[in-house]
């Protein structure tokens, strides 16, 4: 049993003292930023990227992954207790979670969402284990043209599923690709768009860009809207009633399935999973009128879905090296910082890292149940910290983090510049995530494109002649055509309106 051997290897890596410590650290930080509205996992991971220089590769990836799924757990606490989404993915949890809290069932809502999340996380991890090897083997057959087509599909799908205006999001991808070209051209050594700035000749660093776009711009927008907080509600007993358990089990199962499926898709991920799960429960329920008034299914299903999706969204990144959302783009960045080229080789060349990370995700999920339930009192206290304390602290950590990338203040100035650009993006309704995906994939995509054209002697038909590449491009085109259909356009618009 090769799979069992792999898992045993992963377990041995994951339970080393150091890796357990970083998993715990990641989960704690993740819960913290999940609980606090106004800072999300993208900004946090960008902020901490420079610090991961000092850590071994496995430990740093374990920690960053912990932040991501920790935020899914923490986000629900805020939604349930103060009716404010701690994270985008727990927006729907507010609807019924807060109503349960008002009825004095806050404790039950919290424990159902934590246990449901744990179950979903476990299933998500198992799915990663099962699909990792076949997908990797498939990816190893890919040539440069196929890879190029795969990235195109990934980018387009990410845009189609995850954002408001498709045309604008595609333009953002191209803008990101263009920014990704800044630096020295790998093939010829020519300087591109470096404006004689020596710091730019190694290429533009995406950590300061992500901090600017997702951290600084968010702070500015929050300061404008003066984020307010209501008083926290008392938690009460954590034990759900028998009736609540009976109603939430099928909801958790459905939420997990839906979330796991949507998580694998490029552009899918926790937020999409949670929204779809809520809609599904409402449609299936015999008492749809209870939704929005404290229906326990309305908490159990989306919470399970967002965590399942958070887990399975690692699949394309780990096996193909293609990030499906902004957090995964940063994980790719973290691997590149450590000198690991993400892609199908990671599993064969670095099995300890690959399997260690997967096993640690499950351990992390178990830790999170403990962090979130018995220690709930601590997180509730944190909710009372006003935003005017947090904003300067986040800014400060961004600045120091950016400086420590290469010990240069140039990167700090870059954070400021991209903060302004990020603010402009927000005001114009352009999303940062497609930009970041383009930025991360840009250099690689150009490389594959040029190599494919070289191998085919300049014949662009190569992309249509290879069956894999052709299939991927047809899928991409189909997705784009589908989006232009009026009926789908309308349904999408409604779905995103509910979200906004």
């Amino acid at each position: 049993m090769e799979l069992l051997n792999n898992l045993a290897l992963g377990l041995s890596v994951a339970v080393s003292f150091q890796n357990l410590l970083y998993a715990l650290l990641g989960c704690m930080v993740g819960t913290l930023i999940g609980v606090l509205p106004g800072i999300g996992p993208v900004a946090t991971i960008a902020m901490l990227l420079p610090i991961t220089f000092h850590l071994p590769p496995t430990a740093s990836l374990i920690m960053l992954a912990g932040i991501y799924y920790g935020a899914q757990y923490g986000g629900s606490t805020t939604s349930i207790l103060v009716n404010l989404p701690g994270e985008a993915s727990s927006v729907v949890t507010c609807l019924d979670g807060y109503q349960m809290a008002r009825k004095g069932r806050a404790g039950a809502a919290l424990s159902i969402s934590a246990v449901g999340s744990f179950f979903a996380g476990t299933v998500g991890t198992i799915i990663i284990v099962i699909f990792a090897e076949p997908l990797t083997r498939m990816a190893q057959k890919f040539g440069p043209a196929d890879y190029c087509a795969l990235m195109a599909l990934g980018l387009v799908a990410a845009v189609v599923l995850a954002s408001g205006s498709v045309t604008k999001a595609i333009a953002m991808v191209f803008l990101g690709l263009l920014f990704g070209l800044i630096g020295t051209d790998v093939n010829t050594g020519a300087q591109r768009f470096t404006f004689d700035v020596p710091e730019l000749s190694d290429g533009i660093d995406f950590a300061p860009i992500a901090m600017g776009l997702f951290g600084i711009a968010e702070i500015v927008v929050n300061l404008e809207r003066h984020l307010e907080r209501g008083g926290a509600i008392k938690v009460g007993s954590l034990w759900p009633t028998r009736e609540e358990i009976r109603r939430s089990i099928p909801a958790v199962l459905r939420g997990t399935t839906l979330g796991a499926l949507l998580g694998v898709l490029p552009g899918g991920g926790p937020t999409l999973g949670a929204f779809s799960a809520y809609t599904l429960e409402k449609k299936l329920s015999k008492h749809p009128e209870e939704f929005g008034k404290g229906a326990v299914e309305g908490v159990a299903a989306p919470e399970a879905a967002n965590n399942a999706a958070a887990q399975t969204s690692f699949i394309p990144m780990l096996t193909l090296g293609i990030p499906s959302n902004a957090v995964m783009a940063l994980m790719v960045g973290a691997m590149i910082i450590q000198g690991i080229q993400p892609g199908p080789e990671v599993m064969t060349k670095k099995p300890d890292l690959f399997w260690g990370m997967i096993v640690s995700m499950w351990i992390g999920n178990a830790m999170l149940v403990v962090i979130n339930l018995p220690m709930i009192g601590m997180w509730v206290k944190l909710l009372t910290v006003p935003y005017r304390y947090l904003a300067p602290a986040i800014l400060l950590f961004c600045c120091i983090g950016a400086y420590s990338l290469q010990n240069s203040t140039f990167h700090v100035l870059q954070v400021a510049a991209f903060g302004v650009l990020g603010y402009v993006f927000v005001k114009l309704g352009c999303e940062g995530a497609p930009f970041l995906l383009g930025l991360v994939l840009g250099p690689q995509m150009e490389e594959y494109f040029r190599r494919a054209m070289l191998l085919s002697r300049g014949n662009a038909m190569v992309f249509l002649e290879r069956p894999i590449s052709l299939g991927l491009l047809i899928t991409t085109a189909l997705l784009l055509v589908l989006m232009a259909l009026p009926s789908i356009k309308k349904a999408r618009k409604e779905a995103f309106q509910e979200e906004g």
Binding site: A171, E224, C399, V412
Partner: protein
């Protein structure tokens, strides 16, 4: 409402602008041939696509009349940006502590409420935390206060 001030129209203009900038500064880069592409091939292709998309977005925006742009509040944006720039200028020349104090004060001014005692308290906590985490914990080679040689 002025239809030229919609979110979509302005973002279209922004994409066209970025495309033109990239075309202008990329014009000296060799194009090469499709077989052996030079450094300029892909940038030119991307900028042309970007200009095309920007144009499309503009046209659609004029026809459909999109959402208007929200008013910009200059205070938070300016103060946060100025704070970061001050931090960058002070960090190497004066050390972490002066840079931190300036950043925390300027960015606290950006919010709605400014209570001096709170900001001072916040500064002290952050100064201690940063010294422990970055100087002691991660062993970064930085000065806390450069004049004193710390």
């Amino acid at each position: 409402m002025n239809r030229f001030l919609s979110k979509d129209f302005l973002s279209g203009l922004m994409f066209i602008g970025f495309g033109l900038i990239a075309l202008y500064f990329g014009q000296k880069l060799a194009l090469g041939t499709p077989v052996r592409m030079g450094p300029g091939w892909v940038p030119r292709m991307l900028s042309l696509i970007l200009i095309g998309l920007g144009g499309l977005i503009c046209v659609v925006a004029l026809v459909t009349k999109g959402e208007p742009v929200e008013r910009i509040k200059w205070k938070p944006l300016t103060l946060v940006t100025v704070g970061i720039i001050c931090f960058a200028l002070l960090f190497e020349s004066a050390g972490l502590l002066p840079a931190l104090i300036v950043l925390v004060f300027i960015s606290s001014l950006a919010g709605e409420e400014f209570k001096l005692m709170e900001v001072i308290g916040n500064t002290i906590v952050l100064a201690i935390l940063c010294t422990i985490v970055f100087k002691v914990g991660l062993g970064m080679n930085i000065y806390i206060v450069k004049m004193l040689g710390w």
